[in-house]
């Protein structure tokens, strides 16, 4: 398969409010997010929730069926990244500076995992985010996350 080349700057019409559901339809189907088959779940003013279904080839420990930690990282990375664009109301080029995940418990074998990303502060260059992952009930998180994104290049 040829490499997908989603260009978010051209997907989002200039002046249009950032739409995480629409963007995930494109971003979530290409590359690594496509491999994980990331689905849009919901969003608010400053948060976006995405999900990934359990799959045998995403497992890090075949004995327990526990998902690779990096599946949760990818999920939180995408959700928090999109939460910045959602809070900002538009797309802007940015990269992840760092991300920390605390695992409160493993995600059980066979269960879909949800990742919510929240942008709690924005400066001209940095987006401060936190997030959490759960298996369907946000009151029973399996992981907590925090991180920062740095803006690169110019506003589109």
């Amino acid at each position: 398969m040829a490499f997908g080349k989603p260009d978010l700057g051209s997907i989002m019409p200039k002046g249009a409010a950032f739409d995480p559901a629409l963007v995930n339809k494109i971003m979530g189907k290409f590359g690594h997010s496509g491999f994980l088959d990331m689905e849009y779940v919901g969003h608010g003013d400053d948060w976006v929730e995405l999900s990934v279904d359990w799959r045998e080839d995403l497992v890090a420990d075949p004995e327990t069926g526990i998902l690779a930690s990096a599946v949760i990282i990818s999920l939180i990375d995408n959700a928090t990244s999109m939460s910045i664009w959602t809070k900002l109301g538009e797309f802007r080029p940015q990269v992840t500076m760092d991300l920390r995940i605390d695992y409160l418990r493993p995600s059980p074998s066979g269960e879909r995992v949800y990742g919510r990303g929240i942008c709690y502060h924005l400066t001209n260059s940095i987006g401060f985010v936190r997030g959490f992952a759960h298996n369907g009930n946000p009151d029973e998180p399996l992981a907590h996350a925090s991180g920062t994104f740095i803006r690169i290049g110019d506003r589109v």
């Binding site: 398969m1 590359g31 491999f35 080839d57 995403l58 890090a60 998902l67 930690s69 500076m97 991300l99």
Partner: protein
């Protein structure tokens, strides 16, 4: 070539990771650039880089445990990933270093690089719980 006590897990195999070398006793994991690890066009996805770091960390800790004659299991408590450079569309390598292996926990650092090991594209810092297997 390092003899790993286990085949790489399904997640690692799905992303075409393989043990390609050994460094100070720890396995070096290689991951080719494919569509499955791509984020923004022609760059690695941060999650895929994190995945490579994770597999390198797990491989290093298994190696360290085995060297001690331990068959203990591990459970990840947390991870911090610093993304330092964009991952280009080429082969990426990672190796883990067990900076401390105690009876109850282990600290592991993993480094991912492409052409030059002194220019890491990302570093991962992990804490693992060591869970001794109960005697049967």
């Amino acid at each position: 070539m390092t003899q790993l006590p286990l085949p790489l897990p399904p997640y690692a195999r799905a992303l075409d990771m393989a043990i390609v070398d050994e460094l100070d006793g720890a396995p070096v994991i290689g991951m080719p650039f494919t569509d499955r690890v791509q984020g923004r066009p022609n760059f690695l996805h941060g999650g895929a880089i994190s995945g490579l770091l994770e597999i390198a960390a797990i491989a290093a800790i298994h190696q360290a445990l085995r060297a001690k004659g331990s068959d203990a299991a591990i459970k990840q408590v947390n991870v911090t990933v610093d993304f330092m450079r964009g991952g280009m569309s080429q082969m990426t390598f990672a190796v883990g270093e067990v900076t401390r292996l105690g009876r109850t926990m282990a600290n592991v650092e993993a480094r991912a690089w492409q052409e030059d090991r002194d220019k890491p594209i990302a570093m991962g810092y992990m804490h693992y719980l060591i869970k001794a297997k109960r005697p049967v």
